[in-house]
Amino acid sequence: MSREQKPKADYFKSIMAITRKDLSAELRSRELLSAMLVFSLLVILIYYFTLELDIKNRNAITAGALWVTFSFAGTLGLNRSMAIEKDRGCLDGLLLAPVDRSVIFFGKALSNLAFMFIVEAIVIPVYAIMYNVNLLIPGFLGVTILGSVGYISVGTLISAMSVQTRTRDVLLPILLFPLVIPILVAAVKASNGYLLNLQWSEISPWINVLLVYNVIFLAVSFMVFDQVVEE
């Protein structure tokens, strides 16, 4: 029996199996998405309630407010998505499967990204209507996508770590936020550039920062992921 080869599952098919499992579980309960959405709206409301900014200031902070909202909602999503894996020991189940660890990373990252995009796709128009700003700017949307990819790639890695600690519910934002602040700042700056119709030369450095961080974070996360899921 021993050393003869058995056919392995296809790399991409396995990734899709994981993503599909997450999406279909979510489709049934819709609890994660609805939680992220309601939470996003609450953050926006609380922002305005406690800050009481005047109109002029409001426009200047659109990108900031949106990104704070996305990152808090994102943590919620990341936490939950990994907690599902940990609850009945499912993560062990995944780890027992004969797939590369990077398959697990990409599978989870993809479904996390999908949740993030769905939330953004709803929050951005709602925000645009509520505060009467035009957000349908291709550049702005592109930056949002770029920023989300970077955020989710570190986020998936960190949430896989934090969920295995005793203080899992509290540790994720603490570990994640300081690391992604460069991404958040660059995304906010670049978005503001598009919203305020600045020159490309003023926007491009931030886009570069975003691209560099995306590449670095994705590469590092992908490379070290097996270190954080194995005992």
Binding site: M1, S2, R3, K6, P7, K8, A9, D10, K13, S14, A17, I18, K21, S24, A25, R28, S29, I84, D87, R88, G89, C90, D92, G93, L94, L95, L96, A97, P98, V99, D100, E230, E231
Partner: protein, 232 residues
């Protein structure tokens, strides 16, 4: 086939496993006995590639751990203290998901088959989180044999099973062992262990303190043997 040499596993400064030597050949059914906290679960988790050995060499199904883990995993069926199932998916969806990862051919019919085996066909469309303890354990067993593994590692698989399910599991284990698979199981139920096992190893104080084949036991029953070993 399993071969473990001078395996050490340390938690902090505590040597939970302090030099375990162990081997099992195809067709052998090893029951791992030992008091609470002896390190049985720890040992099985290492064999299952879920935990890394601190020191020592481990060979499972002919492949080295941890370096050739992926090959090992393909040939491994595991039941652990946790069900390893998604509460938000139905029984069927859980098996379908794992079936994909294991790249099983004729997935649907195989799932149908194992669900029947563990007696959950009628509940296959129910969410796992509404299952009782014993039902989760049944599904967990179905999951572990789905891909017809060569090596079976079962950590107290009888937990929570009722009479029917226990008899089903007896049957599964016997047929698997007869088919030349390697089985390692822990259990505190000596009567059952005696009935199933072909070999009995006692893990205590971080070592395999004794190992005996069933045909060498003579008239002594397993309980007496186990107590004698523990008494030193």
């Amino acid at each position: 086939m399993i071969e473990v040499k001078s395996l050490i596993k340390r938690f902090g400064l505590k040597n939970v496993l302090a030099g375990v030597n162990f081997s099992a050949i195809p067709g052998e059914f090893v029951v791992l006995l030992g008091p609470n906290g002896a390190g049985k679960t720890t040992f099985l988790r290492i064999l299952a590639s879920l935990s890394r050995p601190t020191l020592g060499s481990v060979l499972v199904a002919g492949f080295k751990l941890p370096s050739e883990a992926a090959e090992v995993r393909m040939r491994l069926g595991v039941v652990s203290h946790n069900p390893l199932l998604y509460g938000d998916l139905t029984a069927e969806e859980n098996l379908d998901f794992f079936g994909r990862l294991y790249n099983i051919h004729g997935r649907d019919s195989r799932i149908h088959e194992v669900l029947g085996l563990v007696g959950l066909s009628a509940r296959r469309r129910d969410l796992v989180r509404t299952f009782s303890r014993g039902m989760q354990q049944r599904l967990s067993i179905a999951r572990s044999v789905l891909h017809d593994p060569d090596v079976i590692l079962f950590d107290e698989p009888y937990t929570g099973l009722d009479q029917d399910a226990s008899e089903m599991l007896d049957g599964v284990l016997k047929s698997v062992a007869a088919a030349g698979r390697t089985v390692v199981m822990t259990s505190h139920d000596l009567a059952r262990a005696e009935d199933l096992g072909t070999r009995f190893d006692v893990l205590n104080n971080g070592k395999i303190e004794n190992s005996i084949k069933k045909q060498d036991m003579g008239t002594e029953n397993l309980l007496a043997y186990y107590k004698r070993v523990l008494a030193g």
